[in-house]
């Protein structure tokens, strides 16, 4: 679905473009902006000039009158974290690339493309609108969108992504790039999601538009990080991930490859993470199946607690 709506008929207003998390700004009254919903665009697709979604985004920018001397707010990356990261991380772990290395690599590639985008379009600034908190509980999955992992674990992964991104666009970096997010408003201290922020389990509701505009506005106007809750940075949180074998029930074809591959989490009942430091450990002990892929489980736990047996 493609939607372009203007809250103000002024070519110089910021263009908010990307995935469905742009839609809340259709209702914006306090933030003059133009909104373009591309569809389920990923950061990965944005970085690939010939991808259908990137070409569509470029077309929508032309339809919006271009972005020279305008601020562009890019809402992309949620699907990367929810689907691609979860799929790719275990495979890359087994080949010696740690979780932070992987996320850092992705973020660097993403920002490199954003800088090229600024140079080529003449945009005055790009603000990255961060992904929201995750669905509650286990998400449904299929072989096209293997969105897996528990609510807390997926939020932790979003946090790792946020930390990489925030470090890269921190004050003093000199980029015309900012980062704004409602994520930390949407989660509890234990990184589970506050359902009042995502009543349909996916989107920030329209009645939160004022909060979103207030969060986005400073970043549009030059503040590198606008994350709320008095945060001037995203605190570093090392997440311990251990990999344990997981029996995949069946596989019928290559397309079934990810269908029954669940990254399960086993955590303590009362894990508290915010403000506590954990040591990151990655364990690449992974079982390979006949497709050369991983069947495994993930465990997130404080470093002070012993691992549960697989």
């Amino acid at each position: 679905m493609i939607l372009i709506a203007s809250t103000m008929n002024q070519p110089a207003v910021p263009l908010i473009i990307g995935d469905c998390h742009t839609m809340v700004f259709r209702q914006a009254k306090t933030l003059p902006c133009q909104v373009a919903h591309v569809g389920p665009i990923t950061a990965d697709a944005f970085c690939r000039r010939q991808s259908p979604m990137r070409r569509l985004l470029d077309q929508l920018i032309l339809q919006a009158g271009g972005v020279a001397k305008r601020t562009v707010v890019l809402s992309i990356s949620e699907i990367d974290i929810r689907s691609h990261f979860w799929r790719d991380i275990p495979i890359l772990l087994a080949r010696g690339m740690s979780l932070p290395q992987f996320v850092q690599r992705r973020v660097e590639g993403y920002l490199s493309e954003v800088r090229k985008f600024i140079e080529e379009t003449g945009a005055s600034r790009v603000v990255l609108w961060g992904p929201p908190a995750s669905l509650l509980g286990q998400a449904p999955h299929n072989d096209e969108f293997p969105t897996v992992g528990s609510n807390r674990t997926r939020n932790l992964l979003t946090h790792v992504f946020n930390h990489c991104l925030a470090t890269a666009v921190a004050p003093g970096k000199g980029d015309q790039i900012g980062f704004a997010s409602m994520f930390y408003d949407m989660i509890y201290d234990d990184f589970t999601s506050n359902s009042s922020w995502i009543p349909d389990a996916i989107h920030i509701p329209d009645d939160r538009v004022t909060d979103c505009c207030e969060r986005l506005d400073p970043a549009i106007n030059g503040t590198p990080l606008s994350l709320g809750l008095g945060m001037s940075t995203v605190p570093e949180l090392a997440v311990e991930i251990t990999v344990t074998p997981y029996e995949r029930p069946h596989r019928d074809s290559p397309r079934e490859f990810f269908k029954n591959w669940l990254l399960t989490e086993s955590t303590a009942e009362s894990i508290t993470i915010t403000g506590q430091a954990f040591t990151f450990v990655s364990d690449a002990s992974v079982a390979n199946d006949a497709f050369g892929a991983m069947s495994l489980g993930l465990q997130v736990r404080p470093v002070s607690q012993p691992a549960s047996p697989p």
């Binding site: 991808s51 495979i91 690339m97 992987f102 290559p254 397309r255 490859f257 990810f258 006949a290 497709f291």
Partner: protein, 93 residues
């Protein structure tokens, strides 16, 4: 088997893997095929294809290769680094 024959068999194995994942005969695919260039070869199929190629060839791509290799030609080039084969399309190198 000489180097060119090895490269030919590697290409055949790669095309077979791509065909298995994308659901078409291997003959439909050539060195120009790749992510965003070929119907059905999207970012979600990408990793599946690479892992299927690994299985067919009995190799393991490195982490960097898994993140960067996005076409049949690139896969051939990566495999040739392991075997000193000259992959089709790279004969001038």
């Amino acid at each position: 088997m000489n180097n060119n024959e090895n490269a030919g068999s590697h290409l055949a194995a790669i095309r077979r893997a791509v065909g298995d994942v994308l659901g078409k005969p291997a003959e439909c695919y050539g060195t120009a095929d790749g992510l965003d260039q070929t119907d059905g070869w999207d970012s979600l199929a990408q990793m599946t294809i690479l892992l299927a190629v690994e299985k067919n060839l009995g190799i393991e791509f490195t982490a960097d290769e898994l993140l960067e290799v996005r076409s049949i030609q690139a896969m051939l080039n990566a495999v040739s680094l392991r075997t000193d084969d000259i992959p089709p399309g790279n004969e001038a190198q």
